[in-house]
Every structure is written in structure tokens, then in C-alpha cells.
Symmetry: C2
Subunit: 207 residues, 2 copies
Amino acid sequence: MSTIINRQQIDEMEQRYRASFINSLGGFKSTLLVGTRSASGQENLAIFSSFFHLGANPPLFGLVVRPDVSRRHTLENIIETGYFTLNQITPDFVDAAHHTSARYPDDISEFEATGLHPEYLENFQAPSVVESVVKWGCAFRERHDMSINGTTIIVGEILWVVVPNELIGEDGFIDLEAAQTVTCSGLDRYHTTKHITRLPYAKPISK
Amino acid sequence: MSTIINRQQIDEMEQRYRASFINSLGGFKSTLLVGTRSASGQENLAIFSSFFHLGANPPLFGLVVRPDVSRRHTLENIIETGYFTLNQITPDFVDAAHHTSARYPDDISEFEATGLHPEYLENFQAPSVVESVVKWGCAFRERHDMSINGTTIIVGEILWVVVPNELIGEDGFIDLEAAQTVTCSGLDRYHTTKHITRLPYAKPISK
């Protein structure tokens, strides 16, 4: 049975209950590891589930950064150095990826803490994740502070991409499902996917 | 084998190939039907894959609207009337949902054209989709025009939610997978999901 949950009922939910409810409502999300290095050389790795596509030419995307402490280093490093990497996650290291969100002492990198390995492809300034098979390097382009709730949207531009050749279709489509890339829902659920259909470019239905 | 695809190679890709490549790279996306009605009473339904969570208290989200013609009515109606609905998609009507993106004559509603049914819950100004089991009503809050590429980010606030009681967990989590909610990748691939793990709130790993 479905009932309508109105706004007053949402506002009266217990805080963590509401966070889980609203966060899971919106649907499945891309979940990525963001790799950065501070100007002083400290590496940082953080899991984000707020990536969104903005355009392909030039290749642009957005990333929502919440004003909480555990994400602060990532935001600082992106703005300070101008560069970061995004790394897709597979089931073999989803536990380690999730644990990057724990609070470690400031002098401990999440790479060290979780056992994931950094690499510097093409002498890029920010570390990517060895364990990740699909990953890309990004430049910081714009920052939009959302006065409505204190979140920040980072706009990034894609500079290079690493993807196994066999995942790339003739039409350019990258088959992330074949690589077992995970998606997440809510705050802490991870899923793989099962392809149901590919639909052609939509034309009006004849009646 | 993986090779690094650099920015020059991305820029030199054929346009549709690049759109598919960059759009699929970012990972799995929430895909939703946006229901609106113009001030003159014309109903509109359009599929979007650019929803992102902004916060739970108050419940806020973003939606990227591209400057193309087929999405123009949705953006106009949202701004003109201030209200819209978001509706999750299941495999039984994914074809109809996808076909809302075709160009129909201006006086034909996508509800009529695709066979999906509008309903007006709680006398809400915008139609929701009868076939959708998880859906919510929204108010327009902010518009951010992204000068970097001409896209628009709509910030919306959630006013009411319809979700079957049996999908809501004790912690507030909505089990969209149990409802067979679809996720999409790239421009035209739809998937269901398979749960792999739920991980507890991350604490530092003891070494």
C-alpha cells in the first residue's frame, strides 16, 4: 500500500532516518573515488556519490561537495591545486572505497589507511587509484556555492581517460556493467547492474 | 588493454561518438520522468537522467536541463508554474518513458503519445505518472545558468512523496531495487540492479 508522505511528516522524521529516506528516494547514483594531493604533497582519497554529467564538448561534469569535515580536504586540494582524478569502483575494492569516508588522523592518507594504491599517470599532479580500471584526470573549472543549503558544486573538465579498449563500443559507449562497476543508493548500499534494454533514438510513436 | 585517451583525442572524436563516450564514462544515473503542466493547461512529460541529491533538511535536489528543444517545454513549465513531479521508472514502462524524448507536435502531450497516464495527487498543480510506484511533488527554488556550456541547473524542493510502505526500511532507506527501479548509463541503456553489500558507517580501519 502506498500513502502520501507530506512535507510536515518529512520535516518531523528523525534526522538520520530522514537523511536515509531522502538520499535513497532519488535513485541510483554514480559512486567514485576522488583522488587529490595537497600543495604540500599529502595524498587524499574520498568517496563521492554526487557526480553529474554537464556536457560532452567540452567534457564537463559537476560534483556536489557537502560542508562536512571529512570532505573538506578534497575540496581544499581541488581548489588549491586545480587538479583531481575520478575513479570508478568495482566489488573487489568496494569495502576499501567505502572506508575512505572514515575520519583518519590528518597525517594519514586514505590510500595508506585502506590499502588502495596511488599512481601518477602522465605525470599528473593528482593520484589515481591503481585498482580502478576506469578513471580520468580532471581540472577544476568553476565553484558554485549553493546559498540555499551551504553545499558547493565543483565544475570539472575531463583532461584524460583510462578505459580498457574492450569496454568501448563502436558508438563510443563505455560498457561499465561489463567491468562490474558499482552504483550506490542511499548512503551505504552498493549494487552491480543487469542490462535490460538499449532503446534507439526516440521517434514519435505511430498510432 | 588500457590506453590513456588524451584530451586531443577526445576533442577529435566524431560528435555522437564523443557524446556517448563522455556520457557513459561517469557511471550509472538516476533516470526520472518529469511531469509538468503549462499555465494554459498543456501537460508535458520528459525523461531526465541528471538528478542529483543536494540535501535532506530541507529536502533539496538539482536537475540539469540542457538547452535542446525537446526539453524546453519542461523548463518553461517549471519556471512558469513553479511546480513539477519526479517519477521513478520500472521495466514495464521503460519503453514508453524513453519515448517521451521524441519530438511530438506541440499540441500533443507525451502522456497521450506514449500511453502513460497522468494523475493529480492532492490537487497538486503538476501531473504525476500513474504507472510509477515511487514519485514525488516538487517546488522550483533556484535556477543556475552555467555560463561555461549553456546548461541550466534547476534546484527543487520535495513537497510530498508517494512510496509503497513495504519499500521503506526501519532506518528510512527506500529499497528501490525491490521495486525494480531502473538506472541508466550513457544515452540509451537501461539496467536493473543487484545488491552486493551494505556497509556500516565507516570507521578507521585498525592496522
